[in-house]
């Protein structure tokens, strides 16, 4: 059985597309039949919950009770993957809290799969976030996400500067989210459904909808490219990892 996996999607800036990336991940896991639950930290009303109401709970990660709700249930939950959409400004506090409760240590010991999708903004300031974040990652799988969905130009990304930050995190992997045309983005927002449901031309209730064939085509094409990125980084293999067994336990098992 795979060990519990926790995926954090976050950034210290707002408006860089955290929830969009979280939505593509939820769709990806659903398509691969990987049971997933999600937590939206945008209290009191979460955007992620609006799109994935059946999978998502809204939590306040600054409250111990909600931290317990998320992390004390990792092994007992039906879902093997727990995705947390961390709202702007809460990325570092969340990672600090994870360190304080021993979560980072548990991930280091191989008891939990821990991955961070860090959505980067277009300015040099977002590179500073990487350095701050690195201190709390432990052995987490770290994905640096350049999100072009809203036409962000990473014009300040001088290659040398970028590389110096990039190297500061062990095994960091870059992920690129391509642009989706504005009208398609807007229509999915208005529909308030998962991307895959929009493509299937259905409402949240499952009833047939009447979304534009053209826009559904663009969303399908775009989502295919996003998922190709997740395939490239072997996301399903990462999630399917089994827990590490301590050497003493192995010896006992052999007897």
């Amino acid at each position: 059985m795979a060990k519990p996996a926790v995926i954090i999607v976050g950034a210290d800036k707002g408006g860089v597309g955290k929830t969009t990336v979280a939505r593509t991940l939820l769709d990806y896991f659903t398509a691969h039949q990987i049971a997933t639950r999600a937590f939206d930290t945008e209290t009191p009303r979460g955007t992620l919950k609006r799109f994935h109401p059946n999978l998502t709970d809204v939590v306040d990660m600054t409250l111990v009770a909600d931290q317990m709700k998320v992390f004390d249930t990792l092994s007992s939950a039906d879902a093997s993957v727990t995705l947390i959409d961390v709202r702007a400004g809460l990325m570092l506090p969340t990672l600090k809290a994870l360190r304080d409760i021993g979560f980072i240590e548990a991930a280091k010991k191989g008891q939990i799969t821990f991955a961070v999708f860090h959505i980067l903004g277009p300015t040099i300031a977002s590179l500073d976030e990487i350095a701050d974040t690195a201190a709390y990652l432990g052995d987490a799988k770290y994905f640096m996400v350049k999100n072009y969905i809203n036409s962000t130009h990473f014009f300040e990304w001088d290659e040398a500067t970028h590389s110096s930050y990039f190297k500061s995190i062990k095994d960091a992997v870059e992920v690129t989210i391509p642009k989706l045309n504005e009208m398609a983005t807007e229509q999915v927002e208005l529909a308030s459904v998962p991307f895959i449901t929009f493509i299937a031309n259905k409402k949240q209730s499952g009833e047939p909808a009447s979304y534009s064939f053209v826009l559904r085509g663009y969303v399908r094409h775009w989502l295919g490219n996003v998922w190709a990125e997740y395939d490239r980084i072997a996301l399903t293999e990462l999630i399917a990892q089994r827990p590490l067994t301590a050497p003493t336990q192995k010896v006992q098992a052999a007897r």
Partner: protein, 140 residues
């Protein structure tokens, strides 16, 4: 063509087919033929052929709608896409393709001007017009 496991899963998503707003719900949907008269070259007789084809389809009470995608809009399209044929505009793409897929049994004839040739087929590729499994069918 699907290239990864995820692409295959995405390609398998069935789309609800838009209904014909005119036909009663009890009427069985009729397949709608789409004819594209195209060439990347000018002055080869595309519009002439499109006119002949449209007239032929309208013989004996048949129904056909023509779409004019010529830069000057001089073809006899009864749903010409207004001045210019800039298919880079998503609204114009919607005006065209969202009409083409309606299963109303009315033949659609596209007179594709040479100036729109490349853009038209780029859009066809991007939105998966040929390959998408609409209503459970994998091609049209």
């Amino acid at each position: 063509m699907p290239t990864t496991d995820s692409h295959r899963r995405l390609a398998a998503v069935r789309e609800e087919r838009p209904g014909d707003p005119v036909a009663p719900k009890t009427t069985a949907r009729r397949r709608t033929p789409v004819f594209i008269v195209a060439s990347p070259r000018p002055q080869v007789g595309k519009t002439f052929l499109a006119r002949l084809l449209t007239d032929f389809l309208r013989l004996d009470g048949g129904q056909a709608v023509a779409f004019d995608l010529n830069p000057t809009g001089d073809a006899p399209g009864d749903r010409g896409l207004a001045a210019g044929t800039d298919l880079t505009d998503v609204r114009r793409q919607m005006a065209l393709f969202d009409c083409l897929i309606v299963e109303d049994g009315i033949a659609k004839v596209i007179d594709l001007g040479h100036g729109s040739f490349a853009q038209f087929f780029r859009v066809v590729e991007d939105i998966g017009f040929i390959a998408r499994p609409v209503g459970g069918r994998s091609s049209r």
